[in-house]
Symmetry: C2
């Protein structure tokens, strides 16, 4: 076998992800990706026959990492506490603690960038995104169902919608953070969501709600 092409492929994917998260898919030219990744026309079209192929590969990698993130954090939450409601809340808190880092290296969500951008929704690209979203909603709905069975929530709320609301909060927070150019909104919105879930399932909010983020929360918030 000849020289290994994997590093080049990865470099192209990395550049494309960075640029397309900023500018969108259609607004990013392959020439820009080539320049940013310091490769060439030949290298690019050797690894990706068309620009759409790059898009598909990008979404595939992104969605896989996303679902793995989901499962990793849920497993960690399960190891932390036995109660399903507590697990969901711990799960949110884990993302909360990682929020600043996530937003720093990813100013927005690739899903949105592609769903709002693409003219070619008939490529299987969208389906991969749907699969990832379904993974989120299914896993969270199961957890919430278990939580509701153990200690029934204080309000009559649809559990599937509540599971979806976690995803909704993520995506909405990405948009808010990007619009207002304030990355802290991701952490803040997740903290709010956790608070609402604690209220709903009557789980006492720990006094130690991620202390190292509390110090950063001095802001222009007019609390009176």
């Amino acid at each position: 076998m000849p020289k290994d092409g994997a590093p080049t492929r990865t470099r192209i994917l990395d550049s494309a992800e960075r640029l397309m998260l900023q500018r969108g898919f259609a607004a990013t030219s392959v020439d820009e990706v080539i320049a940013d990744s310091r490769s060439s026309k030949g290298a690019f079209f050797h690894h990706f026959p068309t620009k759409n192929d790059l898009g598909r590969a990008l979404v595939a990698r992104y969605a896989a990492a996303d679902v793995e993130h989901l499962e990793t954090f849920m497993t960690a939450a399960e190891a932390e506490i036995a109660d399903p409601a507590g697990q969901v809340i711990a799960f949110i808190r884990l993302f909360e603690e990682a929020a600043d880092e996530i937003v720093a290296e990813q100013p927005s969500c690739l899903y949105v960038s592609f769903i709002y951008d693409r003219q070619l929704t008939e490529d299987g690209t969208t389906e991969m995104i749907v699969d990832a979203i379904v993974a989120w909603r299914d896993l969270l709905r199961a957890k919430l169902q278990a939580a509701a069975d153990l200690h029934p929530p204080s309000s009559d709320i649809d559990l599937q919608d509540l599971a979806d609301h976690v995803f909704v909060t993520f995506e909405g927070a990405f948009i808010l953070a990007r619009s207002l150019q304030d990355p802290s909104h991701m952490r803040r919105q997740l903290a709010l969501l956790r608070g609402l879930l604690e209220l709903l399932f009557d789980v006492p909010s720990k006094a130690t709600t991620s202390p190292r983020t509390l110090t950063r929360r001095s802001r222009d918030r007019p609390r009176q």
Copy 2:
């Protein structure tokens, strides 16, 4: 004065809005807009010197309608009930009732489409979006503050973040509805948000929670 150009201008804006909400800004060519609006190159560039000018005009119109929508519904909610907490909840319910119609005629939010799409964020385009978002968060924060002063919420929650969460829910629901190709998610997420607010402010959920939408809510929701 010569012939009135306003109708042509409006037709171009309407076509552009429709197409760009579907495909994004960069992915929509001016030729497509011209064809869809049955105008011409001459007409287009007479009204909009550049494509970016069209984008700016589009956002200006969209944001103005959005803020007007916000104020109209809040005024209606204020006429309906005196209690600030009740007003916020009535406000959400009004959007809930309009949700199906809104999503039907607008499959997504132009803000996102432009914030995720644009290479030229230095046009004042983004600033108009920020202004609209600020209108939302300011108005809602004021209401929530008044509500919290009257009957303190059952949980310690940041009111600015809670105000922002309304916007977050809208944007996230747009994305969810579009991704899963199920417009009902907008209404469902708004209903969920209303339920959480009712719980937080201890406002009893009316038995008559928009009865005509209740009949439509038969779905695959596994409630057991």
